[in-house]
């Protein structure tokens, strides 16, 4: 089993944001989580990536219990994520912004920085090369020398992908990557996700755009009020009575 959750639950006071969710990712595939606003999708991501600790339940990654690990340790294990919004350092170039994504694979300290040691130079080069590589992968080579303040919304999304990829992940969790961009650009991002999978990276994304999901995903989980109400292939989800009633609200044809 690659990555799975066991009876994962998160309560915020009286609110149960994620309720008893057991889910396993298909390795090397595109997994998707859908559900109405407030269904607990982002919270589910936060639990897996260690940003929140679950009230109960477990997260297992390659037979290791990672439930209580802090986010930076989870990242080191090869689990990356993006957020619904990404804050970049606007006064710095795109390339410089992405370099820090590879920081977790380096060891140089403040002293290395001050003394400009061999290790410092080696690792600066390594991070630079990694940043160039992932920016090429996401198709941003052209803007890599521009300031982050001057790139488009869609390019910012790609930078967020690049940052996640720079950590050398085995699996990436993408929180609503296509929110706030137009359909053409959405197509481009979908292509990018397929490219990640071709590279052997497992993808798990949250998405609202149903058409995109149905075309793209290999496996879908549907959340509603924090509970998993369905799981399966796109066809199975589209024909699931529970989903049609609870989520699609009768307008399943849309």
């Amino acid at each position: 089993m690659f990555l799975k959750t066991k009876e994962l639950t998160k309560k915020f006071g009286g609110l149960i944001a994620v309720n008893d969710v057991s889910f396993s990712l298909e390795k090397g595939k595109i997994n998707a989580i859908i559900g109405p606003n407030g269904a607990g999708k982002s919270t589910f991501f936060n639990l897996v990536s260690g940003s929140h600790t679950p009230t109960s339940g477990q997260v297992i990654f390659k037979d290791q219990n990672i439930t209580k690990l802090p986010p930076n340790k989870i990242a080191e294990l090869g689990i990356a994520r993006t957020f619904q919004t990404t804050n970049l350092f606007e006064q710095s170039t795109v390339l410089d912004n992405v370099k820090v994504g590879h920081r977790l694979r380096t060891n140089s300290t403040l002293l290395d920085a001050v003394l400009r040691t061999k290790r410092f130079k080696k690792e600066e080069r390594k991070c630079r090369e990694k940043a160039i590589e992932v920016l090429d992968f996401v198709g941003l080579t052209d803007v890599s020398d521009q300031l982050a303040a001057n790139i488009t919304q869609e390019e910012k999304k790609r930078v967020a992908f690049a940052l996640a990829l720079a950590t050398d992940p085995e699996v990436v969790f993408l929180d609503e990557p296509a929110a706030g961009i137009n359909p053409d650009e959405t197509e481009g991002l979908a292509e990018l996700m397929k490219k990640m999978v071709d590279r052997g990276i497992t993808v798990c994304l949250i998405e609202h755009k149903m058409q995109m999901i149905m075309k793209l995903a290999d496996k879908i989980m549907v959340l509603n009020y924090g509970e998993k109400i369905a799981e399966g292939t796109p066809e199975e989800i589209m024909n699931n009575q529970m989903v049609i009633e609870a989520y699609l609200g009768g307008s399943a044809s849309a």
């Binding site: 986010p71 804050n87 820090v100 920081r103 403040l110 920085a113 001050v114 001057n150």
Partner: protein
């Protein structure tokens, strides 16, 4: 490349100016004020690393400045320690206290961090003010020695102190420059931008924040140590909140989170303060509104405003180039008068 060369020349120019400045003025008072300004700059650089680059606004910095100054004062005057040993010990003491306070303070964030460190700063001041036996209380410490000389070098004269302090300032700037332009610096900036994102990128945020905190207290302490042996008298006032706010004002005016900000802000405010001295504390009536306006319109100070202008100009240039390329591509034959193109280029 041109920009780099440009920056290099500007920096070298400033260093040269600082080096020859004592020969340009015969006024020893000006030299004294400038030396003091250098000391403040060192402390402001410390504050900048923490508040500007990492996003944690500490209001305890006058406290650490005072800890550095008093450590040196006590170790030299009361203990009678060798000067440079006391110098080093004072920095270590400041860092150890910084580490202990940082461990607690960094459990808080944003406003809470600012308020907590404000309290810590005040407590440090109170301890200095009330602990008569150790610090001399309100009477302060007098007779702090000037830095001991090395061989032929001696630091008895104000001029030689000017150069010594300039040396430490340049060292500080070099260190901060190298840190900011390194993976460590980018790590701090990532924490400032979003701690949550930084964590999921695998950054141990607490460890990094603690490092910056200690480093920033080191610079505050260094400034304090230099102050003590430059003025040779210290009282509890050097740890008072007003000093923290002075440092913060220098940083905000010059540009928080910029490399040249601390120098520009400190020089400007110190100079303006000196020119407005006849107004005494009413100066604040002028500073207050000016500072407010500056923060509203240029949240990243003078240097920040300069960079913003440069960015905008670059972007405009790029857009113009894009549009031009577009036009050229769209009408390759319709407008194929070759000499026209040459003119445009």
């Amino acid at each position: 490349m041109a920009a780099l060369l440009n920056r290099r020349t500007v920096i070298s120019g400033f260093i040269l100016l600082a080096l020859v400045f004592p020969f340009l003025t015969k006024n020893s008072y000006v030299l004294h004020i400038l030396t003091l300004a250098f000391i403040w700059m060192i402390a402001v650089y410390g504050l900048n690393l923490l508040a500007g680059y990492t996003g944690y606004l500490s209001l305890a910095h006058a406290g650490f400045f005072a800890i550095g100054a008093y450590s040196l004062g006590i170790l030299t005057v009361k203990v009678g320690m060798n000067y440079w040993l006391a110098f080093l010990s004072s920095l270590i003491i400041t860092c150890i206290l910084g580490l202990l306070i940082g461990l607690i303070a960094l459990r808080t964030k944003e406003h809470f961090f600012a308020i907590y460190t404000l309290c810590v700063g005040y407590i440090i001041y109170l301890v200095i003010d009330k602990w008569d036996g150790l610090t001399g209380g309100v009477r302060g410490l007098i007779g702090i020695p000037v830095p001991a000389g090395f061989g032929p070098l001696s630091f008895e004269k104000p001029l030689s102190q000017y150069y010594l302090i300039l040396f430490f300032l340049l060292l500080t700037v070099l260190m901060v420059y190298r840190i900011v332009h390194s993976l460590s610096g980018r790590t701090f900036i990532a924490i400032r931008n979003s701690e949550e994102l930084a964590k999921t990128l695998g950054i141990a945020t607490m460890k990094n924040k603690l490092m910056v905190f200690v480093l920033s207290t080191l610079f505050a302490g260094l400034a304090g140590v230099l102050y003590a042996s430059f003025i040779r008298f210290i009282g509890p006032d050097i740890g008072y909140i007003t000093i923290t706010f002075d440092l913060l004002m220098y940083l905000l005016v010059g540009g928080i989170g910029t490399l040249a900000g601390p120098i520009v802000g400190t020089l400007l405010i110190v100079w303006v303060s000196q020119s407005l001295q006849f107004l005494q504390d009413y100066r604040m009536l002028i500073f207050g509104p000016l500072l407010t306006l500056l923060i509203i319109f240029y949240p990243r100070g003078i240097i920040g405003a300069f960079y913003e202008w440069k960015i905008k100009r670059q972007e405009k240039k790029r857009m113009r180039a894009l549009i031009k390329n577009h036009k050229d591509a769209e009408f390759p034959t319709a407008n194929s008068v070759p000499d026209k193109k040459v003119k445009e280029g």
